[in-house]
Symmetry: C2
């Protein structure tokens, strides 16, 4: 049973096209709608994850990332900490140099706005073992 | 007939309390829910306007403001340009030093997320004559 399927179409902002630009850094399919791209200043994007889709561990150097959850259910985890379950209206701030990942739960679509500055460094995927241990 | 009354309670993020902190710079009542406040780096807030509520003309010095419209109907105007009618899913970028204002239409609640950097300078109110000339 898949939850929150309507999120696929975008809750407030259109979900946009399949995120081919960053697909090498994701497991599963995500959709990207770039809302604002001010070169080297800030990027604001709407990111939509199919169930079980998540991005790789990554770091924002010399910047930050703010996630504003607009729909569905997902996870956010910083290295060395438990994963946090996310639902509509949750807000996450990731400071510079903090290794983290985010994505959907196994059985739900998930969507957030991401406000991002600095330079990303993409690292290894979240292993299936680690992901499967998360309970919805 | 007032439109989009459900926006009063917040669409994605709670509308928060009456915005007493900035009420001197607004005509009418707005509601403020500060989502992220990273001192001198960035502020992310959910702002909800009752019908006909608008903020004064203002400038963001040495920064920018991004508006992400989450519900209802509103206006955005830069000095010397026509006002733009805003609805859910619209995105506005205001660059540094640009004099502008934003708020609800006469007959609708309105809500946006505001991503703000720099230092605001608050100026004169939008006159009733100018506001009344806007057609919904």
């Amino acid at each position: 049973m898949i939850k929150n399927e309507s999120v696929k179409n975008g809750v407030i902002f259109d979900s946009g096209d399949a995120n081919t630009q960053f697909s090498q850094y994701f497991i599963g399919t995500s959709y990207l709608n770039t809302l604002v791209s001010e070169n080297e200043i800030v990027n604001v994007s709407n990111v939509t994850f199919e169930p079980a889709c998540r991005n790789n561990w990554h770091i924002h150097h010399d910047g930050y990332q703010i996630l504003l959850v607009t729909g569905g259910e997902g996870w956010y985890q910083e290295i060395g900490k438990p994963a946090q379950h996310l639902t509509t209206g949750d807000v996450i701030v990731t400071h510079a140099e903090i290794k983290h990942w985010h994505g959907a739960t196994k059985d739900s679509w998930f969507e957030h706005i991401a406000i991002t500055t600095g330079t990303p460094e993409w690292l290894e995927p979240v292993s299936n073992d680690d992901y499967e241990q998360l309970s919805n």
